[in-house]
C-alpha cells in the first residue's frame, strides 16, 4: 500500500476533454494520489486554493485561456508546483515555449503509461528535493542566527545594531574588546546576517598558531613544501571562498605575515606555500583584537597600512562590568544552555546569588560568567543555583565590603590581600605599603582571623 508516513502526493489535472480528465484521474487515484480535475483555466485557478499541488498536468490547447497563459498564472500562485504540459499534437514551438516558462516536461497524447509513470515519479522526486532544499536552507538560517548576541543594555543593543547593519555590506570589520566579551560571536552574527551565510565562516586564531605555521595555515601548502608537508593542504583563505574569514587576535601577527596579509587583503589572490599557482578567493574579512593597535602602530610593531586596511568599520564590544543589566539575561541563558546539555532540571538562580553575580567585576567578561554558571550547574541541586554553588571568590560574602564606610572597605581590602598572600604578614604589609606592626594592629582592630 502507499506509505502512510509520507503525505499523499497531490495531482491537479487541467484538460477540457472529459475522457482525459476521467482516465488520468482514475489512473493517478490507483497510484494513491490525491487527484482533482479542472475543465478550464477558471476552475483550475479556483482549485489552486485547495492545493498545494505537487504536480499539475496541463493541456496546452484549451478554449478560453490557453494552457500556456494558465501556466504563467499558476506559477504566479505557486512557484513550487511542478507543471507537466500535455499536447494533442507535438507542437515544437508551444512545447519549447512551455519549457521556457519553467514547465518540468511535456508529453503528447496519447501518453505511453510507462513514460508517464516515470515522468510523474521523477517530478515528485524533484519536488521533494526542492521542498527539502528550501526547508534545510530555512533551517540553516535559523540555526546560524539562533546563537545570537544576547543583551538588553544600551551598549549591547548598539553593538547588535551595528553588526546587523554592516552585515549587509562586504566591508572589512574590526571588532575591539576585552578578552571574553564575545568578539567571535559578533563576527558570527555579522556572517549569519550577510549574503555569505550559506558559505562558511572560517575562524583563525592568529595568536594561537606559531608564526612559522601561520603562513601555511592561512595560505595552504603544496606537497613537499616543507618537512612534514606530505599532502597538499588548503589554506583558510581558500576555504573561506564565498564566505567570511575571521582573524582573531590579529594584533599578534608578526611583521613578515603582516606584509603577506596586506597583499592578500588587497588582491584577494595568493599562492600556497611551495606552490606557483595563483589562487583567487572571494572572502570577507572580519578581524578582532584586544590590543591597543594604535599604540602598536606608534611603536612600529604593527604596520600602519595594514591597520588602515583592517580598521574600516570598528565595533567596540563593551566589557561585562559596563553593562551589568545584561548579567541576569546572560546568566539565565547559560543556565538554560547547560540545563539542556547536562539534562539537569535547574531552572533558576536564587535572588541573592544573582545579586552577587551582578556585583562581581567580571575581569574575564562573558566567558568567565559562562564558566561560573557551568561550574555552578554541576554543583547545583535542582531547581535553583544558590550562593554555595559559586566558586569561592564569588560566594564568600566577605569578598565584598558590607558597608560603604572607609573602615569597612579597609577591612575588606586587608582581608583580600592577606588571603592572596596566604596570610604572609611581611608580603601583605609590603603590598599594602604599611609596616608590619600597623598591619598587626589593623588585624586586631578588625578582628580578622587566619582561616
Amino acid at each position: 500500500m502507499t506509505d502512510t508516513q509520507q503525505p499523499t502526493p497531490a495531482v491537479l489535472i487541467v484538460d477540457d476533454e472529459f475522457v482525459v480528465r476521467d482516465s488520468l484521474s482514475k489512473w493517478f487515484r490507483e497510484d494513491g494520489y490525491r487527484v482533482e480535475t479542472a475543465e478550464d483555466a477558471t476552475h483550475a485557478l479556483k482549485l489552486m486554493s485547495a492545493g498545494p499541488w505537487d504536480v499539475i498536468l496541463l493541456d496546452i490547447k484549451m478554449p478560453g485561456i490557453s494552457g500556456l497563459e494558465l501556466q504563467k498564472r499558476l506559477v504566479e500562485i505557486d512557484k513550487e508546483a511542478i507543471i507537466i504540459m500535455i499536447t494533442a499534437f507535438a507542437s515544437v514551438e508551444s512545447a519549447v515555449q512551455a519549457l521556457k516558462e519553467g514547465a518540468f516536461d511535456y508529453v503528447t497524447k496519447p501518453v505511453d503509461p510507462d513514460h508517464l509513470s516515470h515522468l510523474v515519479r521523477n517530478a515528485l522526486r524533484q519536488k521533494k528535493l526542492n521542498d527539502e532544499n528550501i526547508r534545510l536552507r530555512q533551517h540553516i538560517s535559523t540555526i546560524s542566527v539562533t546563537d545570537e548576541l544576547i543583551g538588553d543594555s544600551a551598549p549591547m543593543k548598539k553593538v547588535i545594531e551595528l553588526a546587523k547593519t554592516v552585515a549587509k555590506t562586504d566591508t572589512t570589520v574590526m571588532i575591539r574588546g576585552e578578552s571574553g566579551t564575545g568578539k567571535e560571536l559578533v563576527a558570527r552574527t555579522i556572517h549569519a546576517h550577510s549574503g555569505r551565510r550559506f558559505f562558511p565562516i572560517i575562524a583563525v586564531n592568529c595568536g594561537a598558531v606559531p608564526e612559522s605555521l601561520l603562513e601555511s595555515e592561512l595560505f595552504g601548502h603544496e606537497r613537499g613544501a616543507f618537512t612534514g608537508a606530505q599532502h597538499r593542504r588548503k589554506g583558510k583563505f581558500e576555504m573561506a571562498d564565498g564566505g567570511t574569514i575571521f582573524l582573531d587576535e590579529v594584533g599578534t601577527i608578526g611583521s613578515k605575515m603582516q606584509v603577506q596579509l596586506l597583499r592578500v587583503l588587497e588582491s584577494k589572490q595568493f599562492t600556497r606555500v611551495g606552490g606557483n599557482e595563483t589562487i583567487k578567493s572571494d572572502f570577507r574579512v572580519i578581524c578582532a583584537t584586544n590590543r591597543d593597535l594604535e599604540q602598536a602602530v606608534k611603536e612600529g610593531i604593527f604596520r600602519e597600512d595594514l591597520y588602515y586596511r583592517l580598521n574600516v568599520f570598528t565595533i567596540f564590544v563593551p566589557p561585562l562590568r559596563e553593562r551589568r543589566n545584561d548579567i541576569p539575561i546572560l546568566a539565565t541563558y547559560f543556565v538554560k544552555k547547560y540545563a539542556a546539555a547536562m539534562n539537569k532540571p535547574v531552572t533558576e538562580i536564587s535572588t541573592d546569588t544573582l545579586d552577587l553575580l551582578i556585583r562581581y567585576p567580571w575581569p574575564g567578561n562573558v566567558r568567565e560568567l559562562e564558566n561560573v554558571i557551568e561550574r555552578a550547574m554541576v554543583l547545583a541541586k535542582p531547581p535553583s543555583i544558590v550562593q554555595t554553588d559559586l566558586p569561592f571568590q564569588l560566594a564568600d560574602s566577605k569578598s565584598h565590603p558590607t558597608k560603604d564606610t572607609l573602615s569597612a572597605i579597609e577591612c575588606h581590602h586587608i582581608e583580600t590581600v592577606l588571603h592572596r598572600t596566604g596570610w604572609n604578614i611581611a608580603r601583605s604589609a609590603d603590598i599594602l605599603d604599611i609596616d608590619r606592626a600597623t598591619l598587626y594592629n589593623k588585624i586586631a582592630k578588625y578582628g580578622l582571623k587566619k582561616p
Binding site: E17, V19, V20, S23, E30, D31, P110, D112, P113, S117
Partner: protein, 180 residues
C-alpha cells in the same frame, strides 16, 4: 454471499478463464464463477483510428449487462485495450467499485517479437487479473516490489512481482471486507 464473475469478452484462448479460478478464490476468499452466456462481442468499444478497444466502454457494458449481479465482475479479453489519454492499458478497474477488465494482448512475448511463451502469458494474466480485481476491492498501488498490487506499466514489471498480495495489502483487504 457475494462472488466474483468472470466474463469472456471476444474469443478467449481456452485455458485462460478456468486458470484464473483458483488464484482468485485463494486471494479474495470468494467463489469464482464463469458467465454461462456466450462471449460478448466488443465491437461497440472498438476505435478504428487506434485499432484498439476502449476499456472504459467495456466496463460500462459489463455493468449494464450484469446490473443485478451482487459481486465483482472481471471481463477477460484477448484484445488490445486503451483509454484515450494513454497509448495502452493492460487492464482497467473501477476503484472500490464493481467491474474490471483485463487483456492478454500485450502479455504474450510474441507481441514483443519474442518466441511465444504460453506459460509466462498465463502467469502474467493471473497477476493482472488479481491486480485489477484488487482495485475493485479498493486496493491502491503498492510500493512492495513483490506485491501483486505493485504498479506495472511494462511486462517486465509484471514478471518481477508475485501473484499474491503482500501482508499490508492483505490487511487492508481484510479490513475492507469486514466493513462490508
Amino acid at each position: 454471499m457475494s462472488s466474483i464473475l468472470l466474463v469472456p469478452i471476444g474469443k478467449i484462448v481456452d485455458p485462460h478463464i478456468p486458470l484464473l479460478k483458483t488464484p482468485l478464490e485463494a486471494t479474495f476468499g470468494l467463489r469464482v464463477d464463469t458467465s454461462t452466456e456466450r462471449s460478448i462481442d466488443p465491437a461497440f468499444a472498438f476505435e478504428p483510428s487506434r485499432n484498439q478497444y476502449y476499456s472504459t466502454q467495456m466496463i460500462k457494458h459489463l455493468l449494464h449487462l450484469y446490473s443485478s449481479f451482487q459481486g465483482k465482475i472481471l471481463g477477460v479479453t484477448p484484445y488490445d485495450l486503451y483509454v484515450p489519454v494513454l497509448t495502452y492499458v493492460f487492464g482497467e478497474a473501477q476503484l472500490d467499485g464493481t467491474a474490471a477488465v483485463v487483456s492478454s494482448y500485450r502479455l504474450d512475448n510474441s507481441y514483443y517479437g519474442l518466441p511465444a511463451d504460453p506459460l509466462l502469458l498465463e502467469q502474467r494474466l493471473i497477476k493482472e487479473a488479481v491486480h485489477e480485481l484488487g482495485h475493485t476491492f479498493g486496493l491502491l498501488h503498492c510500493h512492495e516490489y513483490e506485491c501483486v498490487m505493485h504498479s506495472s506499466t511494462a511486462v517486465e514489471d509484471i514478471d518481477l512481482k508475485g501473484e499474491r498480495l503482500c501482508g499490508m495489502c492483505t490487511d487492508v483487504l481484510a479490513r475492507k471486507n469486514f466493513r462490508r
